[in-house]
Symmetry: C2
Subunit: 83 residues, 2 copies
């Protein structure tokens, strides 16, 4: 079994209205120290043991988990031992 | 300046219909190896240099960024040098 952590973020230059709203909310709560907020997605996948896990994860990210036009993705694959 | 990465995930046991939908979509795309998908949030904050950054981040997570009733959060604080 593998545990895969996928991080999807907006590409630099892509506007992030959700991040802007969160920044505004934080400022209104007196967290003036916050300069910028960018919101992304974090996904945890539990995946069966197969040979080409990395290639398949790459494929999933490109085809479903991220929108390659405006998003970037990265992932970490950890082997789960002892289950 | 600090760059703070905040990860928010659903607590174990909390149902994740969005994750279930993504799992279904992945299965219908022939990624049968996926056993479970849990969807969370990932936020990148750019924060000014202040003394008690960690305490403030903790406070932001508790009060706005995560819902402590059903979500867990973790964060990494990196110092940005040379800017």
């Amino acid at each position: 079994m593998f545990k895969v952590k996928v991080y999807v973020t907006l590409k630099q230059g892509v506007l992030d209205p959700q991040g802007k709203a969160v920044k505004g909310a934080l400022h209104s709560m007196d967290f003036q120290l916050v300069e910028e907020v960018r919101i992304g997605k974090y996904m945890e996948l539990t995946v069966d043991h197969t040979e080409n896990v990395e290639a398949q994860i790459e494929d999933m990210c490109k085809r479903l988990l991220a929108n390659p036009v405006m998003e970037e993705y990265s992932y970490e694959i950890e082997e789960v031992v002892g289950q």
